[in-house]
């Protein structure tokens, strides 16, 4: 089974994010990390590829930089990676991102594509669905559990009130929520092996497509701040302050 995991390198979320003057685009340092959300998709992909005698290919779009984030996913056990890195993709929207990923995945061939439900730095949350439409396959989204074998896939799909069991034939795209599986930590051997695994870098002209971004950030301004109120240290009676406030607000 040919399994593809879509992954993204993002600025380390534990560092403050900064925007570029003028464009409002997120500034991306040379060393980016694997989006934590993607570790679940990579783990799911590894388990499915291993159980079905397949391969796991990583597909990514964005500035390669040191490729540290991609190596993190390779160190978990993925076989190879393809990154589309092109200056004209700066500020790319979800539509362009999906178009680029679809071009690569179509070229590589696939039975199952796995993505996170949304990235931690962009949160557009529609790339898996767009990708599926462009590839002409179903999207089984918000999976909290996945089984794939032969030419069938079955997921538990998160809903507002619980979950649905959804089945489909393959090929298909699935998006997985954090917590769908417990991602493994790379072993020392995994980390060493990752250095030798193939990482292919493509430009848009390699794929024969163009970026046509129809949306732009026109302004970034400080939000009206919510005033912080009273902060007290608990001296054993702080619960009384809560009671008093709840009475004031007439909820008790």
């Amino acid at each position: 089974m040919r399994v593809v995991a879509c992954v993204k390198q993002i600025p380390d979320p534990s560092t403050p994010y900064q925007l570029e003057e003028g464009t409002g685009w997120l500034l991306r340092p040379n060393d980016q990390v694997l989006d934590d959300t993607d570790r679940y998709g990579v783990e799911m992909g590894l388990q499915i590829a291993q159980a079905n005698g397949g391969t796991l290919t990583l597909v990514s779009m964005g500035p390669t930089g040191s490729a540290q984030g991609i190596r993190q996913a390779l160190a978990m056990g993925a076989d190879k990676a393809v990154i589309v890195d092109d200056q004209s993709l700066r500020g790319a929207d979800a539509f362009t991102t999906a178009k680029v990923l679809a071009a690569v995945i179509g070229k590589e061939g696939f039975d199952l594509v796995i993505a996170g439900t949304e990235s931690t730095d962009g949160y557009a949350g529609v790339v898996p669905q767009m990708l599926a439409e462009m590839l002409g396959v179903p999207a089984l989204t918000y999976a909290t559990s996945v089984e794939a074998s032969g030419d069938q896939v079955k997921i538990d799909r998160q809903t507002t009130t619980g979950y649905d069991v959804v089945t489909s034939s393959l090929p298909a795209v699935i998006s997985v929520t954090a917590g769908v599986v417990e991602p493994r930590y790379p072993t020392f051997k995994g980390i060493m092996d990752a250095k030798k695994k193939p990482v292919e870098t493509l430009t848009l002209s390699d794929l024969g497509i163009e970026a046509d971004v129809a949306q732009a950030v026109t302004d970034v301004s400080p939000a009206p701040e919510r005033q912080a109120g009273r902060k007290i240290e608990d001296d054993g009676s702080a619960h009384l302050a809560v009671i008093e406030l709840l009475e004031q607000k007439k909820v008790i």
Partner: protein, 314 residues
């Protein structure tokens, strides 16, 4: 000016997230509601009351709706030429929006908390960095497809007559092979996050899955809904349906009580517009205190049991 609003169903009725968008859409012009579910007299009445002149019923049956519904809407959009299509940031809506945009070859502005029409498309506001900054984005395409976070607008009836009902024919299209074979409902009893006056939420500071009982016990006398941070949902302490934040639910109760929550951006976005915020946390520097009306630096395991006892003895 023609605007479409995608409305999901909730227990056989139009869901509130869709009705909120109707309130905004009718300020722009003539509104057609796309209703995901099976039709009834109530549906046309409620949607008409909220400003729809017409409702297109999209009933996908046991198919996962996104692919067939998007295919039908794409064909219809070619004919009707809506200028703007609004979706709520909810599961099925997001799926339909993404597939529809890909079919039409247009972009999507998502995670918006305000939307305006422009001469050549639409403009939206988005909260960045835990709501500390507002980015404005513009899309220059028709139709402009925008996904709006729930609770960005208030659902208010406009008093219109029942909407004219038409049923959309959903084609057997590529990608429509996915079928819903079972549905499971979790935890429907008790106050719900979307409409409770008081919400009590817990985070990692509770210490363990068992620690979440503090949240549930405090919620009871307050008739509050119970919520959680992404961190403890990911850790499997509570089901995803309880998650408040960027990737979970947005809540605006009169009172929000945060127990052992540090206040990661991901969480703040989902609750910072609550009327009054109470936070209890050990770490005096926790970001949650920057939005709290009453912040208590202390141990939840000491303070909350006393609070529960005081409430129960009233």
């Amino acid at each position: 000016m023609s605007v479409w609003v995608f409305v999901e169903s909730s227990e056989g009725s139009p869901a509130s997230a869709g009705l909120e968008l109707m309130s905004r859409a009718r300020e722009f012009g003539d509104v057609t509601a796309i209703y995901l579910g099976s039709t009834s007299d109530d549906v046309a009445g409620i949607l008409g009351d909220h400003g729809a002149s017409k409702v297109l019923i999209a009933d996908a049956g046991d198919r996962l709706p996104a692919a067939p519904v998007a295919a039908a809407l794409a064909a219809r959009a070619e004919a009707d030429q809506p200028q703007l299509i609004l979706f709520a940031q909810t599961y099925d809506s997001r799926d339909v929006a993404g597939r529809l945009a890909a079919r039409l070859g247009v972009g999507v502005l998502s995670n918006a908390n305000a939307v305006r029409l422009t001469d050549d498309g639409a403009e939206t506001d988005h909260e960045l960095f835990g709501g500390t900054r507002i980015a404005t984005a513009a899309i220059r395409q028709r139709p402009a497809i925008v996904i709006v976070r729930p609770k960005s607008y208030t659902a208010t009836p406009a008093g219109g007559p029942a909407a004219a009902v038409e049923t959309l024919d959903l084609p057997d299209t590529v990608g429509a092979e996915a079928k819903v074979v079972e549905s499971h409902v979790e935890e429907r009893e008790g106050p719900q996050l979307g409409d409770a006056r008081v919400v009590v939420s817990g985070g990692r500071g509770l210490g363990s899955a068992e620690g979440y009982q503090l949240v549930e016990r405090l919620a009871k006398p307050l008739k509050a809904a119970t919520g959680a941070t992404r961190a403890i949902v990911d850790s499997g302490w509570v089901p995803y349906a309880k998650q408040v934040g960027q990737t979970g639910k947005t809540v605006k109760p009169d009172v929000y009580i945060a127990l052992g929550i540090s206040g990661a951006m991901q969480h703040l976005v989902g609750m910072k517009d609550s009327g009054t915020i109470v936070a209890i946390n050990k770490d005096p520097d926790a970001p949650i205190f920057s939005v709290a009306d009453l912040g208590i630096v202390g141990d939840v395991h000491q303070i909350v049991p006393k609070l529960i006892e005081a409430l129960e003895s009233r």
